[in-house]
Symmetry: C2
Subunit: 241 residues, 2 copies
DNA sequence: TTTATTTTCTAATCCATGTTACGAACATAA
DNA sequence: TTATGTTCGTAACATGGATTAGAAAATAAA
């Protein structure tokens, strides 16, 4: 369940058992509903078990910026356990299944087990690294590269879900949401996506996306998966893609 | 020294003593030098003691995006202790004084003292929150608001350094660097800054910046300091600014 | 089915920001 | 001082992406 922690730290069997034995309840959210809102205070941690969700913030002028996409296994609101109120919203993209863990349970586990605490820190740091790459994407790449980069990231992250990078996947986002994620208008996302399709770099069938030329596409997207830190510390690099 | 940790967790006297007793060596960097480079592996943690620095990344087309500004007290490369190689560069903005702490010392302290581990997590999360706000800034605000927002953030963060928000401060960045931080051209930064000055919202004397109308300026900047999480969890909100 | 609603797609026009270019002001070093 | 290099300031022009407005297609609801 949550043992993708193991990517960054080595967990003992006891550690794994502790994580799997965490008291939790499961809840279901339908598509488009809010899991957390800007300003919320809470005393439990939630984890996304299945479905997709996204973090976002609204500016004073009512514009939305999507901050990240959550995929199964991601921790949704660890932050609120360590800081004060939430500073952004989390909303579902598809129907979602969510585990709720009481704050105390998680914190005592973290203080009892160094490996768990380390995993929490590492996971937070990977998130931060992804945020940084998004900044680069939004701030310094043109529309075409930006969109391509987002699609690549999705492909790469779904790898953990068993869909190898370059393989077709279902994109659970509308063009409007894509635009809000990369700082573009809906109209321009459409134009740009059309451009990629016309050039044979992307093939689209409803929400299904395929990349006929994955290698070339990654170059076009200025994509290098290093920032996702998918490998364990100490593992030899080995350029998987 | 590093006990701005205390903002987010309550540290016992022993905790404080432990932090202050950390083995470390001090190094000096001149302005413009690299403290860490994309790809670096390291076995020690560094903390900025005085001066300013910034994180940045370079795109495939050679464009630079500045990711954050480091001010005294900030931890520079905690990440590399928990993940693999660095995924971005850190470069000084002014001459800097830096403490280097061996990885083991820090990690044993973190695993011995829950409060310290919590402080590390909280600090990482504040960084992440700032990244998110930058994404909003870069992705969804216009040039004027964007620049104003960055100046506000600087003012607010310097508060910890003893310069109250709204008070004049020295901006340690060139217009080119400002541009790379907010995703604009040097030329446009100049235009925009000039606009703010003409409208009486900013007063500039060399690198010194003053805000004659701080309250109005914050509105113009769409700035709300909540995302900086400057207050301790549990502390009553109390709108300081 | 039919109707309602959301999402996609396209075209025409506009404008905020990028580009290029260069002189002035300031630093820093020799 | 005089050289040399940054940084700042501005003007003229180019353009990528925003805006506005709808029509077509897909999806959901009745």
């Amino acid at each position: 369940m949550v043992n993708k922690f193991a990517i960054h730290v080595s967990l003992s069997d006891l550690d794994r058992a502790a994580v799997q034995g965490l008291p939790h309840s499961v809840r279901y959210f339908e598509s488009g509903s809010y899991i957390a809102r800007d300003g919320d205070l809470t005393d439990h941690c939630t984890v996304l078990l299945s479905g997709f969700a996204f973090r976002h913030k609204i500016t004073g002028q009512g514009l939305r910026q999507i901050l990240s996409i959550l995929i199964p296994g991601d921790i949704i609101n660890l932050q609120q356990l360590y800081l004060d109120a939430a500073d952004h919203n989390v909303q579902t993209l598809t129907p979602c299944k969510i585990a709720t863990i009481p704050q105390v349970a998680l914190r005592t586990m973290a203080s009892d087990r160094t490996a768990i605490a380390d995993a929490l820190i590492a996971s937070t740091m990977v998130d931060a690294s992804i945020y940084r790459e998004w900044m680069v994407n939004i701030g310094r790449r043109d529309a075409r590269t930006r969109l391509a980069h987002l699609l690549c990231e999705f492909a790469a992250r779904l790898d953990v879900q068993g869909i190898a990078p370059g393989q077709p996947y279902e994109l659970p986002m509308t063009q409007e949401q894509l635009g809000d994620a990369i700082g573009l208008t809906t109209v321009h996302v459409n134009r740009t996506l059309r451009g990629l399709i016309k050039d044979g770099l992307v093939f689209q069938n409803k929400r299904g996306i395929t990349f006929p030329e994955w290698e070339i596409f990654m170059v076009e997207a200025d994509f290098n998966s290093r920032y996702l830190h998918l490998r364990e510390r100490g593992t030899p690099p080995g350029y998987s893609f």
